[in-house]
Symmetry: D2
Subunit: 352 residues, 4 copies
């Protein structure tokens, strides 16, 4: 099987495996009092060029839901894109963690909301009107669920609308690395400098085993995160192993190199697919996900040949999603392209 | 630092580290569709000699809270010992996951409740009386938080009372291995054969990195666990790494050997401490925890000398808890005993 | 002030006031063990021609949220119209009571969803797929929030789709009386015979002081409503006064007469407004609510003259909502029509 | 039936019935924008001699649970007497409204906790320790569930301990009137001047139909009560009828006269019962509840003769609770005493 199914299907990078081994030396204080965790805040402070609070957790869903529960009250509204992970793929985790806040789904092409659509959505809920759930936060996925990346300018404009409505800004950064790699900017320029209050900084999809960091750029905002994390069952006793993953992940640009590679593989895939007769990209490819419409026979043959990827009806008729990861090889991409090209060619000859 | 502070401060056993490496070969289906997870149920079925449902999660708190949320409704009552982990050390996780069920704390010596105290507690809540929260489950810690172990006979008697009140039986088995090792019985004889409905089968404290399995012995009872787990953020995308830990943990009696070793170290510690003048055990030592009252000067000197363990006021004046783990060495135990003996002796001479 | 603002601004009908007085004779068992409450089930059984369970509560929000919490699990999805009261006007009560279920808002003209739009919405959530919140219920407002009424045929078709997706059917009947009055059918024909599982049977808007009944047509489905009601603080100690309102409400067709009157007033208002130059109805008027677009100057003058009604931007430019109640008089309607006609006429002459 | 079963079994006082009628004049703004509700804050300000926020709700359970949800976070601990209404009789309403806060039940004779027992209980939960639920509030029932009344001095001492642990102070005043009547002090002296932050000011048990007011003495503390109330389904659309009850209740000392009468009846009952051979009071009678141990034959005969009251096992062998209300008559009390005396006398003769 050649995996284009998900970056979650990828393994763990050698550097991170090594860090886990290195952390496994005798005893260490539990629950985050260990040395690795203790220095993690400093590491992230260096990376983001600002003081911040860091909370390691094990899954992206936990990161998102816990962050939102800190930013939005039970009677709050969280605005997000209609295909956001928090809206579509977390079985109601944000609702659970916030105690029943309302997710309001905003449509938008290729995974992006706009200042206008956010403004419109927020206006539906009147501040101070007791019958209405109260606008509390906006959650932005960067990179988006459709493999696109918000530009800093787009984010700044959305952030301004958020301020106007007194919304906290959460960023679902399960693929934050891919966005930074795409924009070639600093992490700071893509987060707190644009008004992001809390960032779910993902590592799992990009080479870690199971590690995400929730970052609050204003420590006050972190508030009672400690208790919420424990209460959610997300305080790991042997936390050094989470922290070691995160430390290795951000050391020596490992995270960016992984993301750059995955992005490059996706770009190569996209360029190649555009040459395949009958194949159409559904969205611009800016991160590590490629949404395409194949000729259905071509897709069927690729799947039969052991290329693994998911049907994606929302991408249109005969739509599919292909995902690359830090460990996707050029050979794998080339093989898929070659095979697709061959089948498309055969098909053209047959129907000619 | 010589660690007697917690079994959570221990590292990961070589066997489990190796299993993690072995699982790290290329891509694998995410969210539990991988091979290791797929065969996990069979492995546990063999171990427990019955059909069952297995759900890997990352922390003991998650295992307990999720299991209880499946067994008790929001308006339910969960009975437990007043020092149960779910009552004292999880920051309200069971209340959170159940949607506000009531934990009713039952006193009892050395961490154990009795059929009588459970019966009494359950009678306070009238079935069908709308003003009362409704009796739903009992949670038993095996081994207990006080390093003791319920005998199968004790459990059978409690289980009978549970049936009388139509209570589901949950077992917090964060240290289930130590209990099985102590009793030298089969896992089945200590769980479903005694009426246990759901077991939080712990591995983390006994050599894993972060892995616990929630077991339901009646698959029907597992009900909607799938959704609750995802919603709690406890569905790991790269689940193979959790499952690999669990598989290695129960393979070749690794879990029992680890537990037997830890128990032996605790027994050695206890026997030795009983010889130290002025030192008194607060509870029988049946698993891997030792609760003692030291002469306060002796305790202070031990801590200064780099032996690490926690004060435990509930164990009485100058009370402390010492915990052994799979990686505690005889030398470490001997060193502590020798040092304690020396200080106690000096003290005796001085005060003589 | 002449009230067209809300049927909630109306008072209590003489018959219901009288019933409250009649109930106030000495002591009576608390919490529903009184005589009035005891015979309430029989009264409703007669009215609905079937066995059922009846639970009096004090507000419509409580009725809806409690009913839905019985029909949908915390990880469930409740489908409803995008302008449903539960979606827009209850500050997240259904989310609170269900423990965080997801409300999915379906657009549709004049407050109605269709079998097709429900089918489409339900398909977004895959049954058994752990990442997705699970389809659980559909909530239909009858009459709708836009003053329209579903026909039995429309409801039957929606109900069929609900069955296909295994959705429980809830009906928000805050204005059920107005719907029955409009269709001139039996309550049974508009509820359980069409597959409705639970009905929030409203009385407050139609002449009661504060009384709604939650009806379950399959007593099994009522399940744990008792505990949920108490836990929500909605079990009234002196319940006889709630029950007395409900009993008087459904006695001697009082509820239908009130509704027929309110509907007639709305129809008279609508017919008259259609004659007013520049005034446009936004939706057909089938119950007791009239949505209109006035010439803005006409609206301003009416409000200045002491006619009270709310702006309703969703009804279009210069949109307003006018509501009639059991106590709206023909004189009040005539006065408004005459005044509106006069101002519109003046305006026409001025601009001619 | 002569009712000594509950003050909830009493009817509505003539003054309050009259106020309901007086409020029923034509239309009035909904949801609290009516005149009666608008002036309610001023009325309560006068009564309590301080600025405050007033929120009418329909039940005592709602008042308590909503107040506590404003004072305690989901991960908080609420301390209360083990027989507090919130702990024993609300089916988990406080847990539901707070999102799973922990109620910690403190034992204490005749319904009262002490500064010492509160201090002890609070110390079990370490502030800032992430494993522990966090101490948040103490809830005091005044009068207590055992018919006793805390003195201002006792409350001041408890309040001091609350401050020490940074606990908000909630008072369950379902029978606040009876406590004020007993102590003959001002409402202010028994609430905010002693450090009470929020008071559930009960009216239902003392002559209202269904009306309680939640008072916050620091308006800031009221915080988001508005949204929580709506979300709980406790915002009444025709709120004037709740407010009218409350207004009439506190006008012209009506509430105190009702309470004084009920207290006097209880005192008369208690004094009389002390003369009945074999009858023993379980607690001092300071409000409108009498807990007694009857000779069991005497109790049986009274119940047979149509006197209604509840067995109360917690009051000891053959223990019962007798409650008086604003409408209990001297004749009823005298009849019970006479009958009890007669049966006790007969019994004495028989066994002599």
């Amino acid at each position: 099987m050649t995996n284009f199914g998900s970056d979650n299907a990828a393994g763990v990078s050698p550097q991170i495996m090594e860090a886990l081994g290195a952390a496994n030396t005798g005893s260490a204080q539990a629950y985050g009092a260990d040395d690795v965790t203790q220095r993690l805040e400093e590491r992230f402070r260096d990376l983001f060029e600002t003081d911040l609070a860091v909370f390691p957790v094990g899954t992206g869903t936990a990161a998102n839901a816990l962050a939102l529960s800190t930013l939005a009250p039970a009677y709050g509204v969280v605005f997000c894109h209609e295909n956001a992970h928090i809206e579509e793929d977390e079985c109601g985790a944000p609702e659970f963690y916030t105690g029943g806040a309302k997710l309001v789904a905003i449509p938008g092409s290729c995974g992006r909301i706009t200042p206008e659509t956010l403004d419109q959505a927020a206006q539906r809920f009147r501040k101070g009107f007791q019958h209405h759930a109260q606008p509390a936060a906006v959650s932005l996925s960067q990179a988006t669920e459709w493999g696109t990346v918000y530009t800093p300018e787009e984010l700044a404009a959305i952030s301004e609308i958020a301020k106007k409505h007194e919304l906290a800004v959460h960023m679902d950064g399960a693929r934050f690395a891919n966005a930074v790699a795409h924009l070639n900017c600093s992490p700071a320029d893509l987060s707190w400098r644009l008004g992001v209050d809390a960032l779910s900084f993902g590592a799992t999809k990009n080479g870690a085993m199971a590690a995400e960091a929730v970052l609050f750029f204003d420590k006050q905002r972190a508030g009672d995160f400690l208790y919420r994390r424990k209460r959610g069952g997300h305080l790991f006793s042997k936390m050094r192993y989470l922290s070691a993953q995160l430390e290795a992940y951000i050391a020596d640009d490992h995270w960016l190199e992984n993301a750059r590679h995955a992005n490059r593989m996706a770009a190569m895939l996209a360029e190649g697919l555009e040459q395949v007769p009958g194949t159409r990209l559904a969205c611009p490819v800016q991160a590590n996900e490629v949404f395409v419409q194949f000729l259905s026979e071509v897709a069927d043959r690729l799947l039969e040949d052991g290329f693994f990827f998911h049907p994606w009806p929302a991408a249109g008729e005969s739509g599919y999603r292909l995902v690359t990861a830090f460990d996707t090889s050029e050979e794998e991409v080339a093989a898929l392209l070659q095979t697709a090209g061959r089948y498309a060619g055969e098909l053209a000859r047959r129907t000619a």
